[in-house]
Symmetry: C2
Subunit: 433 residues, 2 copies
């Protein structure tokens, strides 16, 4: 047990501090599990003057070369976030023969291929469990535990900020602006919440999940993305009445029409296991042709949960160092599957409209839907909004192209004042139609 494995840490923010904390607190458990002692020996920081609590013998530096050129450092943990300079630093570390562990979904989603190639060339490991689902084990389950399956579906709640906001909207009848403010006060949402509320953070994670699940590189540009900014308390109330919960879903499906990858709000039946995932929790539901339905649930963000995932990878690599072997599981994108464009995907849809409150209007609307090949499963008309009647329709499963055509036709009807919202309804048959 006298072996020491030295680590270079890039970034000492929330997660970096968490990694230091967890490693310190659990060292007595981790050392025998690894068969060697893990030590963070150098830490890259932006501001050398800032006061921080550093682990034992760690030295801080603001020069990446101090870490890249230290031959004793075998593992580099990258927690800078964002593309630059994280991408360049990781690439250099891999080229310098260092194993790299990262939580950086941006780099993995967009430049994972380069990282894997560099890791393979240097015969080192490149690991990124923390990039999706925070503390929830999901990358290893997909690459390892479920690898005997043909995976057909990965559906998840992968953004804690928006799930917290939608939970509050649903349980406290609050509106979007109120819950955004609450999320910002709790530290769940950034001052500029765009990446979360517009679905971009979830889209990056979706690109990573789909790439692994379907053995095919899924670029960020292939992920159709809608955020939650248009969701209103009215939509949430109607959804509830109809037996649904609105969630921001990450959806990846591999079907006959190709890979269908998207992030958008969706009505989820209250009986679906994901519907019960509340607040900042995440969960990922995976379907395989042997295992059937599985789900992985836990904290999708936060200092310690993310540190748990980062250190799991570090321990995995350290066990490789102890044994002297690397790269058991390399990049698994050995296929080039085609994609199903969003227009060709199918779903059931929730449509909320304001229309003239006159006899015959409901018929005209039903006709407009029918004319474009959209059949209705349920219609509610109960509330008056000023002079208008509010109508909510749930369609049968239909191709996206048809619902878009229906929107155009409805918009031209004189009796239709406004199409307030169109939201997909997640069901079991969404790639059937």
């Amino acid at each position: 047990m006298s072996n020491i494995i030295k680590i270079g840490l890039l970034g000492c923010g929330t997660v970096g501090t968490g990694v230091i904390k967890v490693l310190e607190e659990n060292l007595d458990e981790i050392t025998p599990r690894v068969g060697a002692q893990l030590t963070i020996s150098r830490i890259l920081v932006r501001d050398m003057k800032k006061k921080r609590q550093l682990p034992g013998n760690a030295v801080i530096t603001d020069n990446i070369d101090d870490i890249l050129n230290d031959p004793e450092i075998k593992i580099v943990i990258e927690l800078l976030g964002g593309i630059h300079p994280a991408r360049e630093y990781m690439l250099k570390a891999l080229q310098a023969g260092k194993n790299v562990v990262t939580a950086n979904k941006d780099v993995v989603a967009q430049f994972g291929k380069d990282m894997f190639a560099a890791a393979e060339k240097s015969n080192v490991d490149f690991m990124f469990e923390a990039s999706v689902g925070g503390g929830i084990p999901i990358i290893t389950p997909l690459k390892q535990c479920l690898t005997a399956n043909k995976l057909t579906e990965v559906i998840g709640i992968v953004n804690g900020t928006t799930n917290y906001m939608l939970t509050k909207m649903s349980e406290e009848n609050a509106n979007y602006d109120e819950v955004l403010k609450a999320a910002q006060e709790k530290g769940y949402a950034e001052a500029d919440p765009t990446a979360d509320v517009e679905g971009l953070d979830a889209a990056r994670k979706t690109a990573i999940l789909a790439s692994i699940a379907f053995n095919s590189r899924v670029g960020l540009d292939k992920v159709y993305t809608e955020g939650i900014t248009k969701i209103t308390p009215e939509d949430i109330a109607y959804a509830k009445e109809l037996g649904y919960t609105i969630k921001l879903l990450s959806v990846s499906r591999d079907g006959e029409k190709g890979i269908d990858v998207r992030v958008h709000p969706a009505l989820l039946p209250q009986s679906h296991p994901l519907a019960a995932v509340r607040n900042e929790f995440n969960a990922i539901f995976v379907k395989g042709n042997a295992v059937g339905e599985t789900m992985f649930y836990g904290r999708g963000a936060g200092q310690l949960p993310t540190a748990s995932a980062v250190l799991a990878d570090v321990i995995d690599v350290a066990r490789d160092i102890v044994k002297g072997h690397f790269g058991k599981i390399r990049c698994t994108c050995y296929e080039h599957k085609t994609f199903c464009p969003i227009e060709k995907t199918t779903s059931s849809y929730y449509v909320r409209l304001l229309v003239d409150d006159q006899p015959g209007v409901l018929g005209a609307i039903a006709m407009a839907f029918g004319q474009t090949g959209v059949s209705l499963n349920a219609v509610i008309q109960k509330r008056k909004v000023k002079n208008n009647a509010e109508i909510v329709a749930i369609t049968h499963v239909v191709q996206e192209a048809k619902i878009r055509k229906a929107e155009q036709v409805l918009n031209k009807l004189p009796a239709v004042d406004k199409i307030c919202n169109v939201i997909r309804v997640e069901g079991p048959t969404c790639q059937e139609g």
Copy 2:
């Protein structure tokens, strides 16, 4: 990709046939993931004359030596079940330098130590993901993904048969005998259901889970075990009224008083993620000091889910064979923690009594509880059963020894006709008291 890795399969029952099926159907996915082609070359069966569909070039035999002495077989999958001769065969296979993958909870729970020692000596792998939770990845998550944590709690629903029965009892107001019959008709329960309904199957899985979670060998004899045979529709109805669901729980805790490991029915708050796990599904809830709360959910049994887990291990081993290295994670029981005897564990309790329907009886009962140091959190008295009144009490968290003392005192009270049931209530504070 021209490499072929040959496998010997012991047992060709439900799960064995499932392994053959999944390997055949998903071979095009599995081969590139492994970097070699997996082939089942020999199959050990009891009855050579039975008609079966065999994979490509497989040869059946009723002599284990045909497999042990075949130098081309690198991996042995053991699916015989039970202790004998599975234990002896696995040991011989390991000694012969073959990697072993098993779904055998009996052998792992009782003789895991010998298996690990033999695997280490021969420098091969010994894997058993399918022994707990069927298709749900749980052994790998515990040994690998959550290994940076000090794990404090593993609570699960790990027996699909009893969960199916309790779900039916709860949702259809059926009684124990009816649901047992339904479970037998569906093939969920054996003709002799003892191992399931008395909690023994769950106890074996609990011994395995606790051993891994707490780095300490937990023998089957250390698992306090109660089954579900005493649960009545009345208990389920009262539980529901009080906001609980009754589940057969596997509970492993590591606290100040030692390791507390048990299997018993428990009232679980309806808001607990495990309360929503219905029918034959399993789920395991794991708490760690970094990751917080996580949960793993899926099918805990069945042909294809179990085959999914068996083949995940096979692929893991095959990747090791391709890379030429083994034994990355060996036995992790490097500690010798003490155990907390059941009398010293603490819990809140549900107690259902039949008492004389007379003034003052409720007071006498409350006094008997108080006299033994048990304080009550809630009491319901609403129903008459013949000449008796039925009382249900929920206690505050108290030591098991005290509730047993209270039972003795209550039994001696002339007004108490019968203590119908005492069931633990699972709460957040069960090792506090």
